[in-house]
């Protein structure tokens, strides 16, 4: 099924996350807005699923509904099962045992996803302290290890800084390190490279790829960048207006796109060509 991606060796085929008939509606003054119109998606252990689609297609809404981070106005229906456990309707305390420990998230903009008033080390170690009840020293030790794992030079120095003192790429790596703190089985990444320079994008991608190979975590990668998907994903889904139009393994999708929309999406990728 999967192409020979870096993380596919860890795939044992068990279903990690199962979305079925997931619908999400926002009640607005102008009527109901359908953000997700029945999504069926299965993520197996260790695999990387990429979701591509244009802005407003519901990619981010998908991730937020998995984590239970939707605003109160959202109406959600269907089912989200994590290893058979239904996440929808779970109380916050129970949900907290899953998210952060089993499912972690890398946000799009690391600047706004890191607390500006907390030093890096405190933010990272907070995850371990909250979830595993680690003592301060142990949690900080683990934080430093994770910073090293995402290839941050001088982790001890960086750890003592505040988010605004770091560069964009550095921040996103910190974000990734934070997601890895609790050794999750599934990482959700929402446009993890969109806010970064091209060169930094490549570095962050290789860090993601490497860590996935190491930890065997599954990755649900949401992006509008087809290049990233081609590089990382085992399977790719194409989303448009709240629907999953097409879901196929990476190679198939790029070589024989079924849907007209996928074809036009592929055709819209700019190429490095000078006008003749």
């Amino acid at each position: 099924m999967s192409t020979a991606g870096a993380g596919s060796s860890a795939t044992d085929g068990a279903t990690l996350l199962q979305l079925s008939g997931l619908r999400l509606q926002y009640a607005t003054r102008a009527g109901t807005l359908e953000a997700l119109a029945g999504i069926d998606l299965e993520i197996r252990t260790g695999e990387c699923v990429g979701i591509v689609g244009e802005s407003g297609s519901g990619k981010t809404a998908l991730l937020l509904s998995i984590l239970g981070l939707l605003p109160p106005a959202a109406r959600i229906a269907g089912s989200i099962r994590y290893r058979g456990l239904e996440l929808l309707g779970l109380r916050a305390a129970e949900l907290n045992r899953i998210r952060g420990t089993r499912i972690a998230m890398v946000f799009q903009d690391p600047m706004s996803a890191l607390n500006p008033c907390m030093r890096i080390i405190d933010q990272l170690s907070e995850v371990s302290r909250v979830h595993r009840g680690l003592a301060r020293r142990a949690a900080e030790g683990r934080a430093l290890t994770m910073l090293q794992a995402v290839h941050i030079g001088e982790p001890a120095r960086i750890a003592r800084q505040y988010p605004h003192q770091l560069s964009g790429g550095m921040r996103q790596r910190v974000m990734i390190a934070m997601a890895l703190m609790a050794e999750p089985e599934l990482i959700l990444a929402d446009e993890p490279t969109t806010a970064l320079d091209v060169t930094v994008q490549a570095q962050v991608l290789s860090v993601l790829q490497e860590l996935r190979a190491h930890s065997g975590a599954a990755l649900l990668l949401v992006t509008h960048d087809l290049g990233i998907v081609a590089q990382l994903a085992d399977r790719v889904g194409v989303m448009r207006s709240g629907r999953l139009l097409e879901l196929a393994d990476c190679q198939t999708l790029f070589e024989q796109p079924r849907e007209a929309y996928t074809q036009s999406l592929l055709a819209s990728v700019p190429r490095l060509e000078l006008p003749a």
């Binding site: 984590l67 981070l69 109160p72 916050a92 907290n96 045992r97 998210r99 952060g100 420990t101 499912i103 972690a104 998230m105 946000f107 799009q108 903009d109 706004s112 996803a113 890191l114 607390n115 500006p116 008033c117 907390m118 080390i121 405190d122 907070e126 995850v127 909250v130 979830h131 020293r137 900080e140 750890a159 003592r160 505040y162 605004h164 003192q165 974000m175 934070m178 703190m181 609790a182």
Partner: protein
């Protein structure tokens, strides 16, 4: 880790202070006034209540003991002004403590929790807001007699309301930020969320507002004492001294000018200190 933290923060604090030399000066002046108001009355041969009828309304003089002159009952003005400072600074301390502790906690809790809790908590604030303040103090005074603690109760009951509202608004905005979501995903909730993620990010606003509250409160006490509702004679606050001085200002202007100048200095210094404090607490200055 801990040992490495202190010097870095210390350097940052010093740098922020360097950028605001006014803060140091203003803080120093306040400290000096506070110290003087504590120490001088204890050392001086005069007190604030014994009349000296042979030395009535003397102008300030550098010899003969009464540095700032005497009031119409022959009491030493310097000592009376310093007692007034004690009261003003005490009120400032109480008001800022109550407003920062209660206001921040109340506002952050309401804003972060949201929903019905928020509505309930903020309606309670609205109710307190709608109490007409001056009549309220007058009624209290009639019930309990003129007493300083009434002033504390009245100011305490009111000073935190503004901060609670502002903090609640900030908390509402903050909780939609990504890093709150990120913390939630990381399993942070409850007191830890409010204490580590919400409150530190709104401290800047709180400091500014608290330092705006302090002068208002000092002026309010002065106003109440001016109306005769504040401290009980013969004790004086800056407000009651100004009131007394105003009635006699043509003949003996120093009785008005001295306490007025001291009050203005205190209020002005508080404004200055607030400016510098905000910078000290802002992590964006720590480079």
């Amino acid at each position: 880790m801990n040992s490495a933290r202190a010097p870095g923060e210390f350097v940052a604090w010093r740098r922020a202070l360097d950028r605001h030399p006014g803060t140091l000066v203003a803080g120093g002046v306040l400290l000096l006034i506070a110290l003087a108001s504590l120490v001088v009355p204890a050392l001086s041969p005069y007190d604030y209540y014994t009349p000296q009828l042979d030395l009535v309304s003397r102008p300030p003089m550098l010899h003969g003991g009464h540095l700032l002159g005497t009031d119409p009952l022959g009491r030493d003005l310097l000592i009376r002004v310093l007692w007034g400072c004690r009261i003003s600074l005490l009120i400032a301390l109480v008001a800022s403590l109550i407003s920062v502790l209660l206001g921040v906690l109340w506002g952050a809790l309401a804003g972060y929790t949201g929903g019905r809790t928020d509505a309930l908590m903020m309606r309670a604030v609205d109710v307190l807001y709608s109490v007409p303040f001056v009549p309220f103090v007058i009624v209290l005074t009639m019930l309990f007699g003129r007493a300083l603690w009434l002033m504390f109760v009245a100011i305490g009951a009111v000073s935190w309301l503004d901060i609670a509202r502002i903090v609640r608004g900030e908390a509402l905005a903050l909780k939609r930020r990504d890093f709150i979501d990120a913390a939630r995903v990381a399993g942070v909730h409850g007191a830890r969320m409010i204490g580590r993620h919400i409150v530190p990010n709104l401290l800047g606003v709180v400091i500014i507002y608290a330092t705006l509250t302090v002068p208002t409160v000092i002026l309010f006490e002065a106003f109440m004492s001016f109306l005769g509702l504040g401290v009980r004679v013969p004790l004086a606050s800056l407000g009651s001294l100004i009131a007394d001085g105003a009635s006699d200002m043509q003949a003996h202007p120093h009785l008005l000018l001295v306490p007025a100048a001291v009050l203005a200095t205190i209020v002005y210094c508080f404004n200055f200190v607030g400016d510098g404090l905000r910078d000290l607490l802002d992590p964006h200055d720590r480079t």
